[in-house]
Symmetry: C2
Subunit: 376 residues, 2 copies
């Protein structure tokens, strides 16, 4: 193909290949000082085997957020898969089927009840499933605290069934970081909490070899990985405005954008109306409480460069409204009906999920089209 972006139907999801490669190289350089620490990219952001192969040219372990992703990536040759959402009893037969086809599946849980349910399932026969105990290192969501009595109760159940693989934590609160010091602190919170939990399990006499940590902010800013065996991250591949607001990247690192066409103006309000609404951008307003609220996205020209202070200020299903961030007047004749813009997203995972494929570009030239997976 040597098509130009002007030939694509809008709205379309655009993936800038050079930026993707730069983001992948950055993570590689960040983790290079720790060659024994495995890197397990989270495929929930990309949901695309072409991206996975770019991230892991020699293959390697991956993390997924749905069993559909697990089945899809296994079907494309990725056989070491961590399902990163607390497992429930109803999902065990489907996981066992995948393990029975040869996948090395790791699941996570954070309760005695679920550990017992899983061990009961394993005792009834079927292929092995490795379990990591989810550790809550930052009060974000799920997991047991590193010092909680329940950690050892879960460990006892899993170890007795030979299913204990170790521990996993995700400092989701690192998205609240606002300084380099915060980023370093969240990374150390993950490391120290996960290592503490693993040591407690080991002190009880159980093998707990895996210590898995990660999020894009903590993976990119970790200064010490002592005791860690595995780092995970997903958004880093594409980056987004939320990550830019956290200080993890700049808008110029964001590899994902939505191509849109100008369909009208409201001159009295200095509004540009486009055909990319929330269906194309998602309803994610992740920058709303950051220092710079980017609305539904930062507006760029066809080459991907931001245009002054233009943001997408509001969204209906298939309409976007673009205006100056501060409400300044615009020369609307610079944005005639039919002209095109690219919008950088707040949240790459959410915007990506609204689309069935990536239009892969270098500059404004279309290189390829990569399909994305959806559903559960």
């Amino acid at each position: 193909m040597s098509e130009h972006l002007s030939q694509v139907e809008t709205p379309s999801l655009i993936l800038d290949l050079d930026r993707l490669d730069r983001n992948l190289a950055r993570m590689g350089a960040q983790l290079a000082p720790w060659p024994k620490v495995a890197f397990r990219p989270h495929m929930k952001t990309a949901k695309c085997v072409d991206v996975a192969r770019r991230a892991l040219p020699q293959g390697g372990p991956i993390m997924v957020s749905t069993l559909h992703e697990a089945e899809y990536f296994f079907g494309h040759g990725f056989d070491d898969i961590l399902y990163g959402v607390g497992v429930s009893p109803d999902k065990l037969p489907r996981i066992a089927r995948l393990a029975g086809r040869g996948a090395k599946i790791t699941v996570i849980l954070d309760s005695v009840a679920m550990a017992e349910a899983l061990c009961g399932f394993l005792a009834a026969g079927g292929p092995p499933i490795t379990v990591l105990i989810e550790i809550d290192t930052d009060g974000h969501r799920s997991g047991v605290r590193p010092d909680a009595p329940e950690l050892l109760e879960i460990g006892a159940v899993l170890s007795g069934a030979g299913a204990l693989g170790g521990v996993l934590t995700h400092a989701g609160e690192s998205y609240q970081a606002r300084s380099l010091e915060d980023l370093h602190a969240y990374a150390e919170l993950e490391r120290s909490g996960a290592v503490q939990a693993a040591e407690r399990l080991r002190s009880a006499g159980w093998a707990a070899p895996v210590v898995s940590v990660g999020s894009t902010p903590t993976a990119l800013f970790a200064q010490d990985l002592t005791g860690v065996t595995e780092v995970r991250a997903g958004v880093f591949m594409f980056q987004d405005l939320v990550m830019a607001g956290v200080g993890v990247c700049s808008p110029n690192d964001i590899a994902l954008s939505v191509l849109t066409t100008v369909i009208g103006h409201q001159a009295s309000r200095n509004w540009i109306i486009t055909d990319a609404g929330w269906m194309a951008m998602s309803r994610d307003r992740g920058t709303e409480r950051q220092a710079v609220d980017q609305g539904y996205g930062l507006v760029c020209d066809m080459a991907g460069a931001p245009i002054g202070d233009l943001i997408m200020v509001s969204a209906n299903q298939e309409h976007g409204v673009i205006a100056d961030r501060a409400g300044a007047g615009l020369d609307l004749s610079a944005f005639p009906i039919g002209s095109r813009l690219r919008i950088l997203p707040n949240h790459a995972c959410a915007t990506g999920a609204q689309h069935g494929a990536y239009t892969v570009v270098r500059g404004e030239e279309i290189l390829d089209r990569w399909t994305r997976e959806r559903g559960w």
Copy 2:
């Protein structure tokens, strides 16, 4: 099929057939006093031919929000299609191809520039396309004001090319209504503004037969449709928590829900963790600024009845957090790991769009599975 909801994988999109039928019947009863006014349901909410056939058993006109929807519904026998997003020059060839296959296509626009572009396209040959001028009756988004000089300028261009069909308006601001008086007022704003615009065009000597108005709140609460030839609405089929907050329906009318499985608890915070995050619910927080903020959705039991004041208070990609609205303590043993809940959505259009199919139920019994369309 005679499967039970407990057998479905989660998260899944559930459509309650009895509630859908009741919502359709309500709109039929509301519009019955005006038998000469056409009803054109908006299929952007359902995106499903099975729902369209239920809404229009004898066939009839429909509205769509994307050209993909237009092609899909035309392929399933719906040939009178209004594309309800301001048309742009790049989309004309695709529209013309559909018209060339026999579809009666109507488009909307609100500028002289686009009217000239469209008439230029028509002059080059090809099948006829009817145009409605989009009228801004409430300052919501697009359109020309009923009294704007530009209305006649656009009318002159379109009429000269034989493409002027009439006018269309959508009082999107009716979603801000908070009382019965507000609802009546928005409906009258639509009617009077659209009729005024049509009369101005007719006074200039041009045929402008179509006067199309609508939104779910205004369609359901219009008291007078004098001069109106067509009413449109979409969300009414499913209803949602935003519509309940506007006073258009009650939560018990909401036909759409997301089935989810409990995957964990955080006892110290009185949190129930589920496998329905924003990927299943969407990021839509449409009730955030209403009198009752429903978080990411109102939590119901398997039969679809709300459970006290439980709402989904936060969402990650594949995790939902359920808690009491006021933070009250919960008996978490009533929600064991593996148990199931249904969550009513803020916004039916947004939540539906996250899924590829409906599991159609009556009570807890599964009747059918209907696929949904996505993309552009």
